[in-house]
Amino acid sequence: MIGTRLFPGGSGPWLIAALFFGLTLIGLIVPMIVGVLWSLVNPRAGWFPPNLVPPSLSLDNWRAMFSVPEMGEAAVASFTIAPLVTALCAALALPTGFALGRRAVPFRRAIEFLVLAPIIMPGIVIATGLGSMFIRFGLAHTVLGVILVQTVVVLPFMIRIVTATFEAVPQDLIDAARNLGAGPLSLAWRVLIPLVVPGLFAGGVFTFIGSMEEFVLTFIVGSPHVRTLPVLLFAYLGGRSQIFTYAAVVTIVLLVPTIALLFTAERALKQEYLAAGLGKM
């Protein structure tokens, strides 16, 4: 289109390919390799300048995953909380998404704005309100409190995607099912829910990844008792002494499932779902 005529010699596409692959190499592949190397550094030898590669490698930092209690606990916390948040979001979003997608509900604009609010509001502000509220209710520093605050920020994605999916269900199918004698329950169970499963799946991927990565609210409401992987990563990167080796291990434990999920769900994360979740304001 534009670029084919930018370079009339026909080398244009190759230049663009070189640009993008070069950027991917520097911006994505090299940092990932450096991250993996950091996780394999031998703690007795270290990895100091000017060495470009660690002088000796070991699995000691990976063993720390099991021997250092805080790391194991954070991994368990993250992988327990994320599915629970996802399930809670699905349960909350299904009826609400149906109402927004298929019924003429009152105060639609106000409700849509409410659902958009957690996406555009700074997390730290929501954390300020919830933090003090949860201290009063005794929910601060508890797993339940963390599940609730994470749900606040990821639920909107689920509601928006489920709503968009319900909107796309053809009315003919519903009418046909009704004509054939389906009651409201069997209509929901046999027709509507199977039709929104793809949207539910896309929303589930969003909420699972969102929950795994959520930091600010978890940090302010959960710490020091409930620590997820991002909270631990923050501790290893900030503070007086950075522990790059442990940070690298936590990074990989956090990244591998989310990137694997991205690749397996590439089809589910079609443009339209991304647009429903993020784009249209």
Binding site: I2, G3, A17, F48, V105, G129, F215, A247
Partner: protein, 301 residues
Amino acid sequence: MGEVLPGPVPAVERSRLAARRRRDRWVDLLLLLPGVGFLALFLVVPLAQVFLRSVGLALIGEAGHFTWDHYRQFWVEAQYRDGFFFSLWLGVASTVISLATALTFSALMQVRFPGRLVVSVLYKVPLVVPSLVAAFLILSLVAPGGILARLVAHWGWEWPRLVYDRWGWGIIFVLVWHNVPFMMVIISAVMAGIAQDINDAARNLGASPWEVFRFVTVPLSMPGVSAAALLVFIQVFGAFAVPSLMESAYPLALPVIMQTEMMDRANWALASALGSVLTIASAIVLFAYYRLVQGRESPAR
């Protein structure tokens, strides 16, 4: 409604209709309750509390009384004011740089080039990378003593100071890395929808490729572009994690100051006032955006 109907509606019929409408309202309410109720309880209530507390009301264990002191403190004390402007700077700089990059890359992604499919999957990876991980990856690359510093040291060059600096270039770098793919997803979708005829017409009328990009592609992508830019700005303006890890000792970003006030000093009132300032500033930007878009969207589409 009654006047429009041709004849008088039988009373029985009317009451049945009303009953049905009432039942529908109850069904609506019941269906909306889980999602909307949850957000009302865990979003609206705490936010209302933030605003009340910022003016001295609804304090834990103390009798509250109305005061503007916390806002005065924000404006009088340099550290808070500077924090506000530092966050504003991070937001503006990251948005402008991300936007220029994402526009260029999205336009280039419309070209068929070898390996396009691979790139179109790979560029989405940062979407699922948490910003803390992005900070770690970039730190290990560009920090003093990072891989690039070691690499150029081999040739006897000195690596420029990119993190922990006054202007937060390291922070901006991480945020741009994180946000460009997000913008590209939205902008590419809009650009793919622009009819090829329009580009061809512009070219036939003698426009150079740059002019096509500047005067056709960019204006027609405006709806997607402005939404993406707005989201990125507000997110960066309120960002806590990356600035907290990569900023210099002064100035601190406003969200970092808020976190210190909350967790180290338990000064929830001041944190609430700072949070309100952050929210109001974001709301002003949001409002300006809607005014701008309303005037622009109809001719563009």
